[in-house]
């Protein structure tokens, strides 16, 4: 009986240690999923997440045989008194061709503010074939009070774009950025996209 009890309590202790280890592991796993998800999305282009670093133009032969319709959608967000507009809502390009489109940012308030346009691409299978040479979305932007600014987006569609894709939609959503001045200067040089 006593032997049986001590065997049991050793067993119970071992089970408890193992389950607690599993619990800690799963809690850590939940947090590990955040960067894993981000990396997974960037590598595969899933969820329309585009790489926000500039790509060099690939000089490849333009595929004259097909046209791709590229649509642009701009959206404001609560808390930022800016307006964002695009010169053409839609354009037709060949794969391999470099294209440029102008976006205009207007600060409707009298005060300076910081904002950032966060991009998303649909369908997500096109994401990795969209190469942005220069984009305002690479970094945060500053607009003085009542300032109006036009910035081009230069992009290229890779020739290996899947055959079933005829239309690509780029969505830019404007978000306010609140941070301290010293952080801004630190972030200034870490992208090679054009700055304002």
């Amino acid at each position: 009986m006593a032997d049986n009890n001590s065997v049991q309590s050793v067993g119970v202790r071992r089970t408890v240690i193992r389950t607690v280890a599993a619990l800690i592991g799963m809690f850590a796993f939940a947090f590990a999923l955040v960067p894993l998800y981000d990396v997974f999305c960037r590598v595969t282009g899933l969820n329309g997440k585009v790489d926000t670093t500039a790509k060099a133009i690939i000089h490849e032969e333009v595929d004259q045989s097909r046209y791709i319709t590229v649509q642009f959608i701009t959206r404001g967000s609560a808390g930022l008194p800016w307006q964002m507009s695009v010169e053409n809502r839609q354009m037709r390009v060949h794969p391999g061709q470099t294209a440029e489109v102008d976006f205009t940012f207007t600060n409707n308030s009298g005060a300076e503010s910081w904002g950032r346009a966060v991009p998303s691409v649909s369908p997500s299978s096109a994401t990795t074939h969209l190469r942005k040479v220069s984009c305002f979305c690479f970094q945060e932007q500053q607009l003085q009070g009542d300032e109006r600014l036009t910035i081009p987006l230069i992009f290229q569609l890779a020739r290996d774009l899947p055959k079933d894709i005829n239309t690509i939609t780029l969505v830019y959503t404007l978000y306010p950025v609140h941070h301290l001045a010293k952080d801004i200067s630190k972030n200034d040089n870490n992208t090679i996209g054009d700055s304002i």
Partner: protein
């Protein structure tokens, strides 16, 4: 109702040889009154506390549902503000999931697992006390948010970000804390159950000799260990997004609201099986008893339960078909979801085959168990319809989904809990429940449940969205029926309370083996089960069991 469960034995020691008899010494000075319940480490008393708590919360959550159904009785806004309506749908879901169904199963586990495996108590009795008393704290906190400025949680029980972060009421931090406490309670309960089952079985009882209720709970406890920490992680991220300026789920700061849904459903889908696997175990105990035949396919039942548990980790994104998944993912989650129908079908087949050529009698536990098999299967079929990704584009967030999960949870989980209560009440109280009233409760419940939830299928297929306080006129008739059914179902649960209270106070005396066909170890101890049982481990006799 007074906490009369279980009957207060004056520490009598049990007389049968099987139950052992060392209960006198060492337990002499037991606290009386409220302190007895606050400090108890006895698995039977803690089991009763869980069950009573869950019954109270079942009525609280039920009242919230009736507020919702009263508002939806006819089109237009009559009774409550839309903001309050949202709080009612949210709180109904949260209370029913975390405070009614889960504690009820834990209560049954506390009462029955030691009795079914021949153990004197749970492995960690003091932890058991702590994990119960966390629950009243958690849900008092959660319910108190209804009285806070800005109201309680109003974002649905799935609390999708950014509804639950950027646009949430100020009370959300309390909601997070309440859920953390409830989660810790579930985790501690799961540790205790695993430790008990793995280490404290009667000598000679192998894993494959355990009753299915023990098996299904063991697998459920592993699911809890795997996913409750993920829930804790998600709500911690929400907490940090709300209060500490992080951007886990905020696109403005580089986060992603879709990530919330992935993480939530990675917890959420195993969670829905946590609420059904113990029900499978209860039904697998009751059907063989009242068919007077051993369970057909015992081993396949165990493997099917394990298969369902493993598959539950691979199907989470079927809740997110319209979020913009790539085609490959839609197909993967569609087929893996449909695959779950295979082990579930094995279970239903085994129950039906157990009934085949059985000598069946229809006492109240059996009625609820049979209703479970039929109505849970209907819920399973609507689940298969929802699994079809292209069809789900239409069904998503409609009343069809509401109909589906209420069919698997109400006549599924809750009917199984009630079947278990009627089945084990003679063991708990020493009296049979009043059979006439119990049958009345059964028939009222089955009419009420179908009248409430069956019309929701049609409203949903016709396009009625869920979580709205007002709706288009063409849905008026379906909603009228649902509301009448809901009030009828709610009222008939009062019969259940009446039966339980009457059974605690008296009734026809039950022998140790209260049901003719019952074979498991719990029927070898006297009815009512004395406070201390199996202090000397019983001799486990395999001959009666599944071979």
């Amino acid at each position: 109702m007074a906490p009369k469960l279980p009957p207060q034995h004056s520490l009598q020691h049990s007389s049968t040889a099987v139950a052992g008899g060392h209960s006198q010494h060492g337990h002499a000075a037991q606290p009386k009154g409220i302190m007895r319940w606050l400090l108890t480490t006895n698995h039977k008393e803690i089991g009763s506390l869980y069950l009573i708590f869950s019954l109270v919360m079942f009525f609280v959550g039920g009242m919230f549902a009736l507020v919702v159904r009263a508002e939806l009785f006819q089109p237009g806004l009559q009774l409550v503000e839309p903001e309050f309506f949202n709080q009612m749908t949210t709180m109904h879901g949260l209370i029913m999931v975390f405070a009614a169904v889960m504690p009820a199963f834990t209560g049954l586990a506390n009462w029955m697992i030691p009795l079914q495996i021949g153990a004197p108590d749970m492995a960690l009795p003091r932890l058991n006390n702590f994990s119960f008393w966390l629950l009243p704290v958690a849900f008092t906190l959660l319910l108190s948010t209804l009285f806070m400025p800005g109201g309680g949680p109003n974002f649905g029980w799935t609390f999708y970000a950014p509804l639950s972060t950027t646009y949430a009421p100020p009370s959300t931090t309390f909601f997070i804390l309440a859920l953390h406490i409830a989660g810790i309670s579930s985790i501690l309960g799961a540790i205790n159950i695993i430790a008990t089952i793995l280490n404290m079985r009667a000598p000679g009882m192998r894993m494959m000799d355990m009753p299915l209720f023990v098996w299904t709970w063991l697998i459920t406890a592993f699911l809890l260990i795997a996913v409750m920490p993920v829930l804790a992680g998600v709500i911690t991220m929400m907490l940090m997004d709300i209060n500490f300026g992080t951007s886990f789920f905020d696109a403005a700061g580089g986060g992603d609201p879709v990530l919330f849904q992935h993480l939530f459903w990675f917890f959420g889908h195993p969670e829905v099986y946590i609420m059904i696997l113990p029900a499978f175990g209860i039904v697998s105990a009751i059907i063989p008893t009242f068919a007077r035949k051993p369970l057909f396919g015992y081993a396949s039942m165990v493997y099917a339960t394990a298969a369902i548990a493993l598959l539950s980790f691979l199907v989470w994104a079927h809740h997110m078909f319209i979020v913009g998944l790539p085609l490959t993912a839609e197909l993967f989650f569609m087929y893996s979801t449909m695959l779950i129908a295979v082990p579930t079908g094995v279970k239903v087949f085994n129950w039906v085959t157990t009934l085949f050529r059985g000598s069946i009698s229809f006492e109240s536990p059996m009625l609820f168990a049979l209703a479970f098999v039929v109505l849970f299967t209907i819920g399973g079929f609507s689940g298969l319809m929802l699994a079809i990704a292209p069809a789900d584009f239409q069904y998503h967030d409609t009343y069809f989904v509401v109909a589906h999960f209420h069919y698997v949870l109400v006549p599924g989980a809750i009917f199984a809990i009630m079947a278990g209560v009627y089945y084990w009440l003679p063991k708990w109280t020493g009296h049979y429940p009043n059979e006439r009233l119990a049958q009345c409760h059964f028939w009222c419940s089955i009419i009420g449940v179908n009248l409430t939830f069956f019309p929701m299928h049609f409203a949903g297929l016709a396009g009625m969205p869920r979580r709205i306080p007002d709706y288009a006129l063409q849905f008026a008739d379906f909603n009228l029926l649902s509301s009448i059914g809901a009030f009828f179902f709610g009222a008939s649960q009062l019969i259940f309370v009446l039966v339980v209270v009457m059974c605690v106070r008296g009734g026809k005396k039950a022998p140790a083996k209260a049901w003719e066909g019952a074979e498991d170890l719990e029927w070898s101890v006297p009815s009512p089960a004395p406070l201390h049982t199996f202090e000397t481990p019983p001799v486990f006799n395999r001959t009666h069991h599944h071979d």
